[in-house]
Point group: C2
Chain length 197, copies 2
């Protein structure tokens, strides 16, 4: 049987938690026999998009290539889990239009918290002017107006964010109900309201 | 259940029949519920690799990107069916090493026959010097020494070539036996010896 997958598109500032959530979701799905792969923007810069600059044009082409690979993955029934800053609303809209079964997850975290996390020291370098075109510092980020899900990674733990995402995937009928959840259902309603944990 | 796919890599001169065979195989597999996608070199030049020249370096990078996409497809259990001239043995060897479950199909057809087919008129233009770096005319093609399969598309019909490929995929246990064949088995042995049809 060929499954019917979809694209889950994680967008957000650097260090907001996109890759962490994409990997958690990937693990959750594959553990349950659903084929899934993470398309991580940073990793793809090593091979698929390594020639591209961080200008608007470079970023648009970056999203275009990732979109095409996601399309191939969903064509074979897999879940394409994209973790890419994807700062421009228009580029994300084009991805949505091309991919159709598309779940936009706004990985929402204040820039001050992302700066504090800064696991790769990139914010620090950007603030010292060592990195040009750094989203959130010297390059714009256009937050999604109507994402399917918004998760506040400064307020919720990764597994709680995962629960909200799984809930939405069930609601959209992209995964069966028995493939959710990590957290008891009684907690889910509270999480939906971004209750601090 | 996540299937276990593999990469079937069709290499050969322009107009040798790579895309035709890849599409036939794709149709055959998907009709039987096996997830498969064609990675067609010409089509990929429209988006994934459109920035690349037809120099050796450009071609190597082309194969590198295609290999990575094939890797993603097989990671989710699909069959990646690559149709790309891929003229350099070393680049194909790198693809084989990276992908492991790798079936190299040499789509073998004399250049004179490919020239005669020439559905896009490219050989004609290459011979008039209008296209530089044209494989078989002004650029080298290194035929595989030990491909898993060699099909002579000037001697066999596409469906007969498909039978040989399916036979090999069964033999390698990449597809179950009941997923083969189009042509009665009594004919297969004869086809293996490139008997003209």
């Amino acid at each position: 049987m060929i499954h019917t997958g979809c694209t889950v598109w994680f967008t957000g500032l650097p260090s907001s938690g996109k890759s962490t959530l994409a990997r958690l979701l990937c693990e959750h799905l594959t553990d349950r026999g659903l084929p899934a792969a993470v398309l991580d923007g940073d990793e793809l810069r090593q091979w698929l998009t390594k020639d591209l600059p961080f200008t608007k044009e470079g970023r648009d082409e970056n999203i275009r290539r990732i979109t095409c690979v996601a399309e191939l993955l969903t064509r074979v029934g897999a879940f394409a889990l994209v973790a890419a800053i994807s700062p421009y609303a228009e580029a994300r809209a084009r991805a949505r239009q091309k991919l159709r079964r598309f779940v936009e997850v706004h990985v929402d975290c204040p820039v001050a918290i992302c700066c504090r996390r800064d696991p790769k020291g990139l914010y620090a370098r950007a603030r010292q002017g060592e990195i040009a075109h750094f989203t959130g510092i010297s390059d714009p980020y256009e937050p999604p107006m109507n994402p399917e899900i918004r998760v506040r990674t400064d307020r919720l733990a990764p597994r709680q964010c995962l629960d909200l995402i799984l809930d939405k995937l069930v609601e959209l009928q992209y995964i069966p109900d028995d493939h959710a959840h990590c957290t008891p259902r009684t907690r889910i309603a509270a999480l939906r309201h971004d209750e601090p944990v």
